[in-house]
Amino acid sequence: MKRPRLPVTLFTLLILGLVLALAFLYLKTVIGQTADYARSRDLIGHIKQLNAQWETEVLKSRIALTHDYDPLVLPVQQINRLWSRFDQLSQQPHNDPEAWQASHQAFLAAFQEKADLVERFKSHNSVLRNSLAFLPTAEDDIQSRLAGLDDAQRLSQQNIAIDTYDLLLSSLEFAQVSSEDKAADILVGLNKLAVNKERLPEAMHEPVEILSNHVSVILREQPVVNQLLEKITSIPVAQRLDEINALLNRDQLQADLQDQKSHQYLLLFSTLLVLLILYLVIHLVRSYGVIRRVNTALQSANEHLEQRVEERTHELKEAQSELLHAARQAGMAEIATNVLHNVGNVLNSVNISSELLSRTLRSSKAQGLGKAMQLINQHPGDLGQFLTEDDKGKLLPGYLNQLVEAIASEQQGMSEELAQLGRSVDHIKEIVATQQSYAGASRLIEPLQVNELIDDALRMNSGALVRHQVRVVKDYAEVPAVLGDKHRMLLILINLISNAKYAMSNLDEQSRTLTIRARVLEGRTLRIQVQDQGEGIAAENLERIFAHGFTTRKEGHGFGLHSCALAAMEMDGQLSVHSDGPGLGATFTLDIPLIDPENPTWTH
């Protein structure tokens, strides 16, 4: 039992551990960041695309392909939205948090810088665009006004018109190629315009100033816009995004490796688990086989056992019958002993009767008759005289009368004694018959008067009872005549009475009381109890008291009670004993079925 428990616990733990490891690995692969990587990369790709689009829009604004800045605003807002989503996705731990953090910061810085530059670009570009767009109009305005002058003035202003036109041209050229030379040209033109302005009438001053202001704006703003564009395109937003991508790739590579490792572990653990389960299955199958084998063995052992039990039963039966036989033999011996014992008891009575008879005969008054006859014979002739005159003769008739009476009473006593003797002889006959009944196991069932039976038993023991001065208390209830085996009943009763008498032999003479009860229980059972006040029975002996050969008496042979119990059993009855302990007396109870002689229902 102890041996298989350890491996079972070990296996359970092992399987549990494997399952947990598998669950952990499985969860790790399932919650893996693969999906997040894909989405992160998507987002970064999208941001990169928007960044490129943003730059394109800036260039389109620069060359006045578009006239509104909404396309420059939308990418920023979209990038911000995408970035916040990306940021949320990036909350999970990374392999290289510092590099990750740095790349994030680098992107945000670059993006912020670029956004600021784009804002500046928008401001400056709009001013520049406005002035550039206005320039031809302003020039036209001046030229038309110049044309409005009178011919004399117009001739002198010819140069002014040419200078203004040159300025316009160089400004427009500058817008295309912002070189130092062109800038110098414009400055020269502006100076010329300022000088020319003084030569023009007052009314012409305002348009010239406006033109020169706008040219100045162009001169100022064009390089700014160009610079801003250069800076915008040089800001490495795309590179930063690439770096983040690279980090993502690295993370994913690492994750993939880990994933691969996890998968390998998963495979390994699964294999182990499968092997373990396989082993357990084999084990189970084997245990099943063992169980089956043991079962078969058990079954065959069972059958064998049954056979053996049968054999043993048979042997037992034989032994029992042998025992029965032996018991019968022993019983017969015992009964023989018993019979002799009982016969002895009865012979005692016979002896007493015969002694009594012989004593009576010896001292019989009949001898007086002889003496009287002698007197009569001495007076054959004078018998009448003798009887009437002689002193002695005169007394003779009276004496004879007395003698007749005495002889009559003597005869009476002797005939009674002879009857007693006859009964004793009868009893001896019965005892012998009992012995015969045992020998032949024959039962003589006859109607019995229970109370008379008990009296007979007492009478048969009367000598001993009187000798031991035992007071007998008869407590008989109304007991109907029953059908029963008289000899067995007598055997049991004589034995019980004799036992009681012996049990009380150590008591002082006043308290030797034997109580005999006869009762009918529930109309079915006859109960006869023999109670003494004797030495009692120790509890440990109560069970053995009916056993063959058990006795507490020195000269006892242990057959009496055993034979009684057997006899009770043979009458379908039961003999039991009760004692409150040593010194407290004992009660023997004989229960036999009450069989009505009128209507015997013989169940045996």
Partner: protein
Amino acid sequence: MNGAAHPSRPARRHLGATLWLLLGIALPAFPAPLDEPLKPLPAAPDLDPKRVELGRRLFNEPRLSKDGSRSCASCHRFDHGGADAQAKSQGINGQLTLVNTPSVFNAALNFRQFWDARADTLEAQIEQVVQSPIEMGNTWPELLRTLGDDPGYRQSFAELYPDALTAANVKDALASYERTLLSSGSRFDQYLQGNTEILSLDEKYGYQRFKDYGCIACHQGVNIGGNMLQKFGVMGDYFAARGNPTQADLGRFLITGDEQDRNVFKVPSLRNVAITAPYFHDGSAQTLEQAVEVMFKYQLGRTPSPEDTGLIVKFLKTLTGQWQDKPL
């Protein structure tokens, strides 16, 4: 969010066209949208109407301010084009704001919020206004307690937001409402959508002047402005001419500290401009004519004829949109 709502529309139109073709009847002449630097307003975004309604209640809720005196609607009045008629608006405790109140209409389309463009989102703008000591002077814990004491708000927030009443959710509700505040249907938008008949000749000329004079350089896009920064006084020193320079005149410089940002402001949207006087961050121009003149002088460096100014003003008046199908 808009993207999701739109795709069905072209599909439906496509289906309609197919149907017409199948029936063999000539397609009715749909007016083609004009390709202009100005764009019509988009349709209102498809937002949770319950959150929008909650935002509307909050927008009109004076308890947003510390002393319970000022709601968003106190300055952003719908009867004044989403702004108020004051140069500077009244905050709590009789204080005046530092700059003029811009219209709340179409504010969602501005690339950033506030005159100095310091807030990137509507939510950030709400955050600042609620906590501004001049405007609402409130704190979030206090405001959340106030709103939490109101069973109506408590229930609405619990219903509409998983995490119920939080500062972020208050801002979200308000911003959701503000995103629906688009004054669509202006006559000019209808013109842009192809209904060229709707503008008078003068108004069309006004639009022409608007483009020719270069106003369009800054006031462009869907919001006719509101998508870029510009220096106030490109062609001249406006503040010297106006006098009384204030801290607020520094504009974005106050935010960035960059000398280039001195006097730089967000270019305001010109939508509903006719009904949102006075003008500029300082509310110094009382009429459109004045504003146009200032712009010409300091931004464009031009001198328009009075006739052209009038035409441009006429054009600007076509930018007034509708709210709930009624002209603002």
